[in-house]
């Protein structure tokens, strides 16, 4: 029952990864903060360039296509599209390096 030879799933079957299927509310809070941090960087760049009368193509595309944190649906903040998943959604924490990459939009209808 106890000790080194207890029958637990990782010891019996070998590999068992315990990644929860959804984010905790604290992970969600930090995710929102990260989204807002990226938004603030984008707005800082935009304002600084606007003062100089300059534009940046990549920045314009981002502003047109990407929703800000406030505009995003909770569904898009914490989950992402995956064609292999049941109901086509998986937690965003399954995305490699998910805290340091931007993943905001999903295919329409999913």
């Amino acid at each position: 029952m106890f000790g080194a030879f207890r029958f637990t799933s990782p010891l019996n079957g070998g590999l068992l990864w315990k990644i929860p299927w959804r984010l905790s509310r604290f992970q969600k809070l930090r995710q929102r903060r990260r989204l807002r941090a990226v938004d603030s960087v984008v707005s800082t760049l935009d304002e600084a360039l606007a003062k100089q009368g300059e534009t940046l193509k990549a920045l314009e595309i981002w502003k047109n296509e990407m929703p800000t944190e406030a505009e995003m649906l909770p569904k898009d903040k914490y989950t992402m599209f995956d064609r292999k998943e049941k109901r086509y959604r998986k937690g965003i924490h399954k995305l490699p390096k998910w805290t340091r990459v931007s993943q905001r939009v999903n295919p329409p209808g999913y």
Partner: protein, 102 residues
């Protein structure tokens, strides 16, 4: 408005495990370690570089770049005390002997 504005860029998140291109952008910006701060003029060229690494950095706009010493001074915690300056010493009366020594 002001012709000489600068981006104050601080590397907040490490680029370990990120693509070589992302790390190359950080190198080009002069960011080698976390919490390092660099200054670059407000130009589309630098804005584009910052935009590439927007998830990793914190950016502000400032009027002039700070020197290394000034950045260090910013980080210094409040010592919790201050030194009273010494009361002014009354100027000694110039005597003949003093003049002789000079």
């Amino acid at each position: 408005m002001s012709a000489s504005a600068y981006f104050r860029i601080t590397l907040h998140r490490s680029a370990i495990g990120l693509p070589q291109r992302t790390r190359g952008v950080l190198m080009a910006l002069g960011l080698r370690r976390r919490q390092q701060t660099v200054f670059h003029p407000v130009e589309p060229q630098f804005a584009g570089m910052i935009f590439k690494v927007k998830e990793l950095v914190r950016v502000e706009t400032v009027d002039k770049p700070l020197s290394k010493a000034e950045l260090k001074e910013e980080r210094k915690p409040d010592p919790g005390f201050y030194l009273e300056s010494r009361a002014a010493v009354p100027t000694p009366v110039v005597e003949e002997s003093a003049e002789v020594r000079l």
